[in-house]
């Protein structure tokens, strides 16, 4: 087979302004008409490499060669004009506009040079959807269509702008298994029509299914490019992680104790008045991990915010260790020994411009151990910071380093160290390992398990199916504010089955006011 190289990226180095070396020396080569996997753990530098290719970041070293010519890509507009399109993990669509309007945004067909020609917009959008066999009504509003369709709109947007090379950043992360199947059919069609697709992922089975070749990245370096059919998933994961991954934990059977968290008939509406949690009742006991799986936006955040005191406008009752927390402040709830790992570490989990020490004590500085009535016990706090940094393996120069200067995994370790160091009885962990490297993720999961073994109650919300499968003693699936399924024998559930519950295709027999104890 004759090679037809469309794109080469040679020896790319990218250092971020906080000193993190995201790409140390990465090279990748794309053939025309292939689906090329870019494989690596979170934080391996995949997204950074693609940002360099798409003109979002400029490389510190290295060259990019497109169709035999060395080029510099200065901006996303520049990348698009050179035939490179990108579909981001988080969709870049205007929800209040229609599909057609989103597709033509920025390159609108004009009437008389000034006004947008809406009829033509709809017809060209429809045309392009037809051409690539996308079954989409281009007149529907984006906020009314499901996630899977939104992604198709993103792909169409790139195709409409003339993309020959299409970058897909973890496209299946937000999709159910069924939607993923559909996406793959589309991608194969695109490949056959001569498009080159870069498929960023860390899901090995998906890469096996759809990709021709794979470039594997590990901590900022490329570990080589392989023909997918010639490499086993075991080898891929070894190259990716540098050692064999433990996907299941050795864990003893749970020994549930007293109820620590009791939720009764909880209903929560969001700011727009949409019902996000719908008459939910369940118990969480000491010594068990209750996992909650589900597609994001099905009420998980609202549930967590209500339990942790961030949201006070809920209906129903929440008891923490028997105390109704309706009138309790966040501080009161924390005093009941509840720890909370928040979903988004940068918005509410830390203060990036303060140093590690200052981020480690925000929940416990009033402890007599760390402060008197007025003054902080600076020396004691410094000692304890050093201990925590060592215990939680935070990679840093000293506790004086600003948190924003750390890598994602290390920031998460700081947060976990802070939350766990109070000796909690209840841990509310929302996406505790999202965007964290394998080592850190494994470390955090191990800690959660240790706490559970020591009798702590753990509520684990995670989009990582692997994580909820391997940790949960009971597993609930959240769909439209309710538990569409609750499994007490986690080992007996398959991923496909879980997917159907996540999509709402399947429901466990519903009884009014069922209480999951």
């Amino acid at each position: 087979m004759e090679k037809n190289i469309v794109l080469q990226m040679n020896h790319i180095m990218k250092i971020y302004s906080n000193g993190v070396v995201a790409n140390e020396d990465v090279s990748i080569e794309l053939e025309k008409g292939e689906i090329h996997a870019l494989l690596g753990e979170n934080g391996a530098g995949k997204s950074t490499l693609m940002k360099v290719l798409f003109g979002i970041e400029s490389p510190d070293e290295g060259q990019i060669i497109l169709n035999g010519q060395e080029i510099a890509i200065k901006s996303p507009q520049d990348a698009i004009s050179k035939g490179i399109g990108m579909v981001h993990q988080h969709f870049m669509l205007v929800p209040s506009l229609t599909v057609a309007e989103n597709i033509i945004l920025g390159v609108e067909p004009k009437k008389g040079g000034v006004f947008i020609d809406m009829d033509r917009a709809i017809s060209v959008a429809d045309e392009i959807a037809q051409k690539y066999n996308f079954d989409i009504d281009v007149r529907s509003k984006v906020d009314e269509i499901p996630v899977g369709i939104k992604q198709k709109v993103e792909i169409l947007k790139a195709l409409y702008r003339g993309a020959d090379i299409l970058i897909l950043d973890e496209p299946t992360a937000v999709l159910t298994p069924q939607e993923t199947d559909e996406l793959f059919i589309q991608l194969e069609k695109l490949r056959d029509s001569g498009h080159t697709i870069i498929f960023i992922s860390h899901k090995l089975d998906e890469i096996k299914r759809i990709c021709n070749r794979a470039t594997i990245m590990r901590s900022g370096r490329s570990m080589g490019t392989y023909e997918v059919k010639n490499i086993t998933t075991e080898d891929m994961s070894r190259l990716m992680v540098g050692r064999d991954v433990v996907l299941t934990f050795e864990k003893e059977a749970a020994k549930p104790t007293a109820v620590q968290l009791k939720i009764r008939n909880l209903s929560v509406r969001n700011g727009q008045g949409v019902l996000k949690v719908d008459d939910l009742s369940f118990d969480l006991r000491g010594g068990e991990i209750l996992g909650i799986a589900g597609v994001e936006g099905n009420g998980q955040s609202e549930l967590i915010d209500s339990i942790t005191g961030l949201n006070k406008s809920y209906k129903g009752q929440i008891f923490v260790k028997g105390t109704d927390i309706e009138k309790s402040s966040i501080k009161d709830i924390r005093n009941l020994k509840m720890a909370h790992i928040p979903e988004d570490r940068m918005t509410s989990g830390c203060a990036g411009n303060l140093n590690i020490l200052e981020n480690l004590f925000s929940n416990q500085y009033t402890d007599p151990e760390y402060s008197g009535k007025m003054m902080l016990k600076t020396r004691r706090i410094q000692e304890r910071s050093n201990e925590l940094i060592q215990e939680y393996l935070v990679k840093c120069k000293s506790f004086r380093q600003n948190v924003a200067m750390l890598s994602g995994g290390n920031i998460q370790k700081v947060i976990v160290a802070r939350e766990f160091s109070t000796g909690p009885d209840i841990i509310i962990a929302n996406q505790p390992t999202r965007g964290v490297d394998v080592g850190a993720a494994e470390f955090i999961r191990k800690r959660l398990l240790d706490f559970r073994n020591a009798g702590c109650a753990v509520l684990l919300v995670s989009a990582d199916l692997n994580e909820v499968f391997s940790l949960s003693d009971r597993l609930a699936v959240m769909y439209k504010g309710k538990f569409s399924g609750m499994f007490t024998d986690v080992a007996a559930v398959t991923e496909e089955e879980l997917g159907q519950y996540m999509l709402g295709l399947k429901h466990q027999e519903e009884q009014e006011g069922v209480i999951y104890e």
Binding site: I15, S17, N18, G19, V20, V21, E24, D60, T308, L310, S329, I330, K331, I333, R334, H340, P342, T347, S348, G349, C350, A351, G352, N353, L354, E358, F361, S362, N363, Y365, T366, S371, M374, M375, L376, T378, K397, R400, Q401, N402, M405
Partner: protein, 355 residues
């Protein structure tokens, strides 16, 4: 990250340098005798004991208001009422000095305490409005400054005015005056007070529980709330403490040997200057004396220059403006910073390989 801090300092000094250079160029354009003007600007403050005294005296109000603003801005409460709080503090001190007839020693003490109280009450109003009505403190505090000005002018005209001199109060009694520290200048005991306040401000922000709460909230309110910190308390307390310092500054300034009567019928601008001080001091009260020294030096130089040459005082406003613009422009020199960080990162990569 020490190199980042070093770079910050470098960037600030560089900004000051650029601002001075631009000002010098301007002087060359507008002046008949540019060299003399620039030399006067720079060396003027050192020419006499009185000039040096002027520099030190004018630091005092800047340290007070600067510290006040540092405290409020650290909590991300953009309260600009230090201007009005300072003004009100001056009036209250004058009223105490004139009306209560207290003995020496006690008189300035009571006057300054009440001035601080007035400043606290005044600067807390925008905080209360924010908590109760969700109005942005930036807007309400800005408007309140005029309230303070006209309220003080009203009180001056109706209760304190000396009819023989027009828009000024009666002469302040000797019992209330803050004593001079250095003969032949107006350097007074208020300077020591200002320095103490700057240090206390630092201790408050960086060593106390409340200060920690303030800074945490200032850096990321969502994080502070999630951690269980009482945001309402922070909003209230930060602006109240800022107001205490501002009001105190007004009282100290008025009782200093520089003034013999209360005659402030327009805003003096120390509240605005405080924002410059706070920016230069990087929100750390400990550095406000340095920032104040720089600004006071520049202004004294400029006013001497205006007296002896054909360049007007306003040139210094341009210099100040440019400094602030450059210091707050985050992307200024960011390319250089990036190269520095990249160089360090590459070096540490090599170290790792060797090891």
């Amino acid at each position: 990250m020490n190199s980042a801090k070093r770079f910050d300092l470098f960037r600030m000094l560089f900004s000051v340098l650029i601002a001075l250079l631009i000002s010098f160029v301007l002087i060359f354009f507008v002046s008949e005798e540019p060299v003399t003007a620039i030399v006067t600007l720079i060396t003027g403050p050192f020419k006499s004991k009185r000039n040096l005294g002027n520099v030190v005296e004018s630091m005092v109000p800047l340290i007070f208001t600067g510290t006040g603003v540092c405290i409020m801005f650290s909590a991300n409460q953009i309260n600009l009422a230090t201007e009005g709080g300072f003004h009100l503090g001056g009036l209250v001190a004058a009223a105490v000095a004139l009306k209560l007839g207290l003995p020496a020693g006690l008189s300035p003490f009571v006057a300054i305490c009440l001035a601080a109280l007035a400043g606290a009450v005044f600067c807390t109003v925008p905080a209360l409005m924010k908590i109760k009505t969700n109005s942005p403190e930036l807007v309400s505090s800005l408007m309140m400054n005029y309230l303070s000005l006209w309220f003080c002018t009203f009180l001056l005209m109706h209760f304190l005015q000396d009819p023989s001199v027009g828009s000024a109060s009666y002469k302040l009694p000797a019992e209330s005056e803050l004593f001079t520290l250095v003969k032949g200048t107006n350097i007074h005991v208020g300077l020591l007070l200002a320095l103490v306040v700057a240090v206390l401000g630092y201790v408050f922000l960086f060593k106390t529980r409340t200060g920690y709460e303030l800074r945490l909230t200032g850096e990321n309110e969502a994080f502070a709330r999630y951690s269980g910190i009482n945001i309402v308390k922070v909003i209230l307390l930060s602006q109240m403490v800022g107001g205490i310092v501002a009001g105190m500054g007004g009282g100290v300034e008025l009782l200093s040997p520089i003034y013999s009567r209360f005659s402030w019928v327009s805003l003096l601008g120390y509240g605005w200057d405080a924002i410059i001080i706070c920016t230069l001091a990087r929100k750390n009260p400990l550095y406000t004396p340095l920032a104040a020294l720089f600004l006071a030096y520049l202004r004294t130089g400029a006013s001497i220059m205006a007296r002896y040459t054909d360049v007007t005082l306003e040139i210094v406003q341009i210099t100040q403006g440019i400094i602030i613009l450059l210091v707050v422009a985050e992307q200024f020199l960011s390319g250089m910073k990036h190269r520095m960080i990249a160089r360090e990162a590459k070096a540490s990569l090599k170290d790792e390989e060797v090891a």
